[in-house]
Symmetry: C2
């Protein structure tokens, strides 16, 4: 009998990663597809199917299910709904299309929830019943785990913590609101903070031209000791820490995991975040909430999380 | 065979209500004890036991369990922990004491969670899987229901939404933090808002002397059309609505239930709350979150919720 495995798919605006994962969470094989090369969703689904079949054949495994982490992915309906950065507009029945093509159970969730599933099964949160995964990328996503399960809420969209408003009449967000957490705490937010400070007369010598700057170059400059870059990371950590304190008051997690590019800034982000979180917590929680950087490889987390979902399907 | 019933206890700083409740949530009999008359917890437990026995005997029911809603009550440990308004200091093993005395299963939770349990089983939230109960009293408490269960978190203290910070460097809270939601949205908060506005030169003719004012007198004056009182309710609703929008982003509930004295202000509080909640929500949720006033009698909610817990014990 062939060994059982599932397909884990990390659907992104630029690239889609597809992996074959065994029951122990080992990524047996993976491949990258350029999402934008498939303007028709049917062609995209056909390509995913073909790749998965080829890989399963080569590996000699039998596929048992498919899991997908996708921006604006809805766990309940299996649809992708109005994803601004994907080539397909409106409500896309991705789960149903994949199910028809593969003839296997399919689970869809959003990318942050997939990362939380991965962290729960294979990362820093193994054995934890209550934690929050914060994904720091272009935006800020979150997967909330309560009693060992990712929270989806009434409509499948729980955990939109990037759109908690942290500054009244603050920065304009792509969602239409102002002052959303992700306009401050994300790669985009960090660049914006840097540019605002330059505009207000701050000086830097380590980062380069303000208009070409990226979150990565700011993080690197901060590591090298550029004062402005350090201050940008500190400010970002302050806003994040204050927001995390609210999240703790909500679900009383034992751990908060930071995941994604910005999380790699390490101590320079983590320390101010922790200080400001603790300052804004009730005494019962002060010093008791573990704040950690994800244990998962950035390129594998969503694949593994999606695969974990597929195993549960 | 005698009919089965449980004991529901609503433990308050001034009074403790004890009721005998059947499986259908009918309050068969209840009694009030003055909490402060029992400086020793053992005497208090003995009095609760004696009353419950007498009532059960009179009703001809067999007691099957005990549920308690108490400030700072911990669901996991059955203890009351550092409750500022109760006569017993430190960590009180109320659950263990009751269990030893009654010889029955005992469940303890905090008062807001008890109200949420009551709302879930017998109130407006019957059949709802995801909702948030906000209790508006001297302070602001919350019970969060996800997937049909009240959220307790890693330590039993989830749902401390009164201590989400809504105003940086805002009003001093009794918890030691500044700008907590409950310093604005609660009976105390409403009075404070009124007094601040008077101090800043606002005029009122319907409320009475600013120093003797209560949340109730402000709500009554607002109903009669006093402009300042209406503005106080509007401002309170604004702060509450903004906070509720954050809570929706967290757990995506289908309903938010307001409970307690201040909730009785009705439309004058509810309408601005709804407007500001919707203005601060992502488009996917705008207009879709039911905001309602509790269907439970204020004096019975915590008893019924505690009883519901006891039935589940």
């Amino acid at each position: 009998m062939r060994r059982a495995a599932v397909v884990g798919i990390d659907l992104g605006g630029t690239n889609t990663l597809l992996g074959i994962v065994d029951r122990e969470g080992r990524l047996l094989s993976d491949i990258k597809l350029p999402t934008r090369s498939y303007p028709e969703i049917e062609d995209f689904v056909a390509a995913l199917y073909q790749q998965a079949q080829d890989m399963a054949f080569t590996l000699g495994v039998e596929l048992k299910g498919v899991g997908v982490g996708a921006p604006c992915g809805n766990y309940y309906t299996g649809t992708i709904e109005f994803a601004p950065n994907l080539p397909w507009k409106g409500v896309i029945p991705l789960g149903a299309l994949l199910q028809a093509k593969f003839g296997l159970p399919v689970r869809v969730t959003n990318d942050a929830n997939a990362a939380a599933e991965g962290e729960l099964r294979y990362g820093k949160a193994v054995g934890k019943k209550n934690f929050i995964e914060i994904t720091l990328g272009t935006g800020l996503g979150a997967g909330i785990v309560i009693d060992g399960k990712v929270v989806y809420g009434a409509d499948g969209f729980a955990g939109e913590l990037g759109h908690v408003i942290v500054e009244k009449n603050g920065r304009q967000c792509g969602c239409g609101l102002r002052g959303c957490l992700e306009t401050y705490v994300s790669a985009t937010g960090v660049v914006k903070t840097f540019q605002e400070k330059i505009k207000n007369g701050a000086k830097t010598n380590g980062v380069g031209a303000p208009l070409a700057v990226t979150a990565r170059s700011i993080a690197l400059a901060a590591e090298k000791g550029d004062e402005l870059a350090v201050e940008v990371m500190r400010y970002t950590g302050q806003i994040l820490g204050e927001a995390l304190a609210s999240f703790v008051a909500f679900s009383a997690p034992e751990m908060i995991v930071l995941f994604g590019g910005l999380a790699k800034a390490g101590k320079l982000l983590l320390e101010p975040t922790k200080i400001h979180m603790d300052q804004n917590l009730l005494r019962i929680w002060r010093g008791k909430i573990d704040l950690v950087i994800s244990g998962l490889d950035e390129n594998q987390a969503a694949i593994l999380g999606a695969a974990a979902l597929a195993w549960g399907a």
